[in-house]
């Protein structure tokens, strides 16, 4: 079972990384600004999940903190860009 | 791992250099940011790469330096990140100030004579 | 009591958050958590003019949560299926309007949370003049079904939870 767990952890890592890669491609090709924002946000999210899975893989809690922080503040830059797209300035 | 990180540092740094050599202030700003990423990673790499060995020495255990990452480069990078953040902020503000006063976003504050 | 502990539930939650974060029940941490839990809402009260909501119908809330969870999982697999197998050319992604009667901000926020957490639907905005919710549906088959589901399955319970007995909290 431990092998299965290891394999599935590996699979999860690959998936998360692949997801990040796909997000990155979207980030690069755009085409519109909001596409990029969305991609960036998803990239953060995938990064968070990656950290989480890495945490399981190495069995330490340290990664959790990072994941938590990503969730907590990662959205700030996204909504900032979104607001910028919407209003042209983020603090009115 | 080592090779990948080295190449990565190289590519990010190269992008940074390219941008820093561009004429528009925003490009230079991005370039400086990228370069500082690369430099931070570079300093970090100087402590060699360690996986699953954060420099934490919980109470009750005798720390073994041989199996923990070198904390010093990390501390240096931390300071460097903060200073990089500060200078980015500064450059940004100067950049918009310059755009406002000089009417151009060229780094020299005036369009080059063509 | 009211003066020093204006938002007991919030304080309790924050204290819980603190203990959860520290994964401990040491007395010192409990004390610290309690202090933070009390201080944080007081210090931020000026920035939160709505105050904090009062939960009024916990049973309804639980039921709603259960229904929503099922819905989330179902939609999730729907969306996955569409992404993987559907012919994108026939995909009918459209905006629809849903007239809302609920006015309470927390209710609406909870609604938006439910809708957005359900894959396949994204809350766009509430149109200010008509107070209609604009919703984007990923794979729209029947607009009326959506309107009906949202109004009855989601909005009604939320009205019960947040709006039933007059205004809540004390707008600062």
């Amino acid at each position: 079972m431990a092998t299965l767990l290891e394999l599935s952890i590996g699979y999860a890592l690959v998936c998360a990384m692949a997801a990040m890669l796909l997000c990155a491609i979207r980030l690069l090709i755009g085409p519109s600004a909001h596409d990029r924002v969305l991609a960036l946000d998803t990239l953060w999210m995938c990064g968070m999940l990656l950290a989480l899975v890495l945490g399981i893989r190495f069995g330490t809690q340290i990664y959790f903190e990072v994941a938590m922080l990503i969730v907590l503040v990662g959205f700030v830059s996204t909504i900032a860009i979104a607001k910028f797209l919407m209003r042209g300035e983020i603090i009115e | 791992m080592e090779l990948v990180l080295s190449l990565a540092i190289g590519i990010v740094f190269a992008s940074g250099i390219w941008l820093v050599l561009r004429p528009r202030s925003f490009q230079v700003l991005c370039g400086l940011m990228l370069m500082s990423y690369a430099v931070n990673l570079f300093i970090f790499a100087m402590g060699r790469l360690w996986i699953d060995a954060p420099p934490l020495t919980p109470a009750g255990t005798l720390p073994n330096p041989a199996i923990l990452a070198d904390p010093l480069p990390q501390a240096l990078v931390l300071t460097a990140i903060v200073i990089g953040f500060a200078t980015t902020a500064l450059y940004l503000v100067v950049m918009i100030g310059s755009r406002g006063l000089t009417g151009t976003d060229h780094v020299d504050g005036q369009e080059p004579d063509l | 009591m009211k003066r020093w502990l204006p938002h007991p539930v919030v304080s309790l939650l924050l204290c819980g958050l603190w203990l959860l974060l520290n994964q401990t029940f040491y007395p010192g941490h409990v004390l610290l958590g309690a202090l933070l839990g009390i201080a944080a809402p007081i210090l931020t009260r000026h920035l939160n003019p709505l105050g904090y909501p009062r939960m009024r119908a916990p049973v309804v809330a639980l039921r709603l949560l259960g229904f929503a969870s099922v819905e989330v999982v179902r939609s999730c697999f729907n969306v996955s299926r569409v992404i993987l197998f559907a012919d994108y050319a026939n995909l009918k992604s459209e905006f629809i309007r849903v007239p809302l009667t609920m006015r309470d901000e927390y209710g609406l926020a909870a609604l938006s949370c439910l809708i957005n957490m359900t894959p396949g639907t994204v809350w766009t905005e509430i149109q200010p003049d008509t107070h209609e919710l604009v919703l984007h549906v990923f794979d729209l088959h029947d607009a009326a079904w959506w309107v009906d589901t949202i109004q009855t399955r989601y909005e009604q319970p939320l009205i019960e939870i947040f709006e039933k007995k007059g205004p809540h909290g004390d707008p600062a």
Binding site: - | L32, P73, T87, V94, G97, S98 | -
Partner: protein
């Protein structure tokens, strides 16, 4: 057992301005008088402290004339060590005195326009002082950044298009250079495993092969930063523009900042690449020498090519930087002595000149300057009327005298310290002194002067000549311009600092011998890296507050 209180004096140059700055931050403009006096008190404190440090280092209070302060009570290679020796003490004094003059100058006008001038000024002092004192490479970086960050703000002070253009350049260059600093630092850490300068110097002789190559690359990167700061050609094009744009008190401080780069090069190179450094000995000295020479040429050409006083001052600073770098690269202790004397003198001179420019600009209306220029260019003959001398109001007399003094000092003409410094350098080149080191042992007799020495002398002489020609051209256009000159209103607070700086310069001439003696001791000390390594690394810490026996580890590298 506790620390003798005098030890804390080493820290004061860093901590005093920081506290003053912290106190100044929340004060609003309405309190500008309080702000000024607070700032002023801090600088007076710094002056007194620097004098005390000089007394301590030179008076034999500290062994080998160096006081070591282990911040946070960690022994040397681990914690951050601050080191006050004769050289750093005199630099601290120079900083404090220059700061005093600049601040005094700013009382009338610059300290009041815009906000936070005083706080940033204090931070700048902190950064400069820290850079002079620290004996840790990364800490040096931090203090460089403190200095730069404050200087960015100060250069921008009194915000106009010209200043912002200049500071864009200044900031971008320095940010890029700071990154190189970090790269170099990282490589040095990677190869030596330490950051303390003395410790690095101690480990360099043991380096070999790839490590040595990487170490040298690191050193090169760091040097590029310092040389950018000290405006070596072709890294210093930012300098004249920045000097010309910055407000005078700030520009005066910038002069000193330029010297910080040279100071660090001097200190580091003598420590790390000394003759004891084995395979790395003397690394890059030639580059410094030739780079310095090229810088002199560039600066001289610049002085000749420009008409604006600010740029002229900038190029003068470049010449002095170049001279200094060449002197360091030449690698001869008594030359370094004269070089430091020159550094002090030229800093005072250029700083005084920069302060003076503002006052001069008040008499030099653009129209009259233009007229003088045309008359000169077309050699307009005078109408044959009886020439009549003109009375010179006291203000003008002061300005022209001060200008002449600056010009003489910058050009290195007698009788002011510029000449003595230059003479000292020539004398040193012509009287080569071979240090008796462990490596080569015996003193050799009078040797022949290398060509580089002659070239250096020639360049210094020629640059002086060119400096005097261009300064004279400017002076004639300004003070002897035709047409009615309206003597400007000068405020006493603006005049005093200039008199003060020039007075210091004259004092340097009068006390030349004493000063030279002091500097010779300073230079002698920095030419003995082994002493530094020994002293810094063996400085004991106080037994810890909760003194628990710590595991001892052996960190001395083994010889390969």
């Amino acid at each position: 057992m506790s620390l003798h209180w005098t030890q804390h004096l080493i820290l004061v140059p860093v901590i005093l301005p920081l506290l003053a700055g912290a106190a100044l931050v929340p004060l609003t403009q309405g309190w500008h008088r309080l702000k000024f006096w607070l700032s002023y008190a801090s600088i007076l404190g710094l002056v007194a402290n620097a004098l005390a440090l000089i007394h301590m280092t030179d008076g034999g209070a500290w062994q080998d004339g160096m006081g070591i302060y282990l911040a946070a009570n960690w022994s040397a290679p681990f914690g951050i060590a601050l080191l006050a020796d004769r050289l750093s003490s005199i630099m601290l004094l120079l900083t404090a005195l220059l700061g005093l003059a600049s601040l005094h100058f700013s009382k009338q006008r610059w300290g009041r326009i815009g906000v936070h001038f005083h706080a940033l000024f204090q931070f700048l002092l902190m950064g400069i002082n820290g850079a002079f004192l620290t004996h840790d490479l990364f800490n040096l970086f931090v203090f460089f950044e403190v200095m730069l960050a404050a200087s960015y703000g100060l250069v921008l002070h009194g915000y106009n298009a010209e200043r912002i253009r200049a500071s864009m350049q200044y900031i971008a260059i320095n940010l890029a250079a700071a990154l190189l600093f970090l790269l170099g630092l990282a490589l040095i850490y990677a190869t030596t495993g330490t950051l303390n300068m003395a410790d690095v110097a101690g480990r360099v002789p043991l380096l070999a092969g790839d490590d040595l190559a990487l170490f040298k690359i690191g050193a090169t990167m760091m040097a590029l930063t310092f040389l950018t700061k000290s405006a070596m050609w072709p890294l210093g094009f930012w300098l004249p523009t920045t000097y010309a744009a910055a407000s005078p008190p700030v520009a005066a401080m910038l002069v000193l900042m330029t010297k910080v780069g040279a100071y660090v090069v001097l200190r580091l190179w003598l420590l790390i690449f000394s003759d004891d450094a084995g395979a790395a000995a003397g690394f890059g000295q030639d580059a410094l020498l030739y780079g310095g020479m090229a810088t002199i040429v560039f600066g001289a050409a610049g002085m000749l090519s420009t008409d604006t006083a600010g740029r002229m001052a900038g190029y003068a600073a470049i010449i002095s930087s170049g001279t200094l770098l060449a002197v360091i690269g030449y690698g001869q202790p008594n030359l370094v002595t004269a070089g430091i004397y020159y550094l002090i003198g030229s800093t005072l001179a250029v700083a005084a000149f920069l302060l003076l420019i503002e006052l001069i600009d008040r008499i030099r209306t653009p129209r009259s300057a233009m007229l003088a220029l045309t008359m000169e260019a077309y050699a307009v003959e005078d109408a044959p009327v009886e020439p009549v001398g003109r009375g010179v109001p006291a203000v003008m007399a002061f300005l022209s005298l001060a200008f002449a003094a600056c010009a003489l000092m910058i050009a290195g003409l007698p009788p002011l310290p510029g000449f003595i410094a230059k003479f000292g350098m020539f004398h040193a080149v012509l009287h080569p002194q071979v240090v008796a080191t462990a490596a080569n042992g015996v003193m050799t007799g009078p040797t022949t002067i290398p060509t580089a020495g002659w070239v250096l002398i020639a360049l210094i002489v020629l640059s002086g000549l060119i400096a005097v020609i261009s300064m004279m051209r400017f002076g004639v256009r300004t003070f002897w311009a035709s047409g009615v000159l309206v003597p400007p209103k000068l405020h006493r607070t603006e005049v005093m600092p200039i008199i003060f700086l020039l007075g210091l310069a004259i004092g340097m001439t009068i006390q030349a011998n004493a000063l030279f003696g002091y500097l010779a001791r300073a230079s002698d000390a920095i030419h003995r890296p082994a002493t530094y390594i020994g002293r810094v690394l063996s400085e004991p810490t106080l037994p810890g507050p909760a003194s628990s026996p710590a595991p001892t580890i052996n960190l001395t590298p083994e010889a390969p």
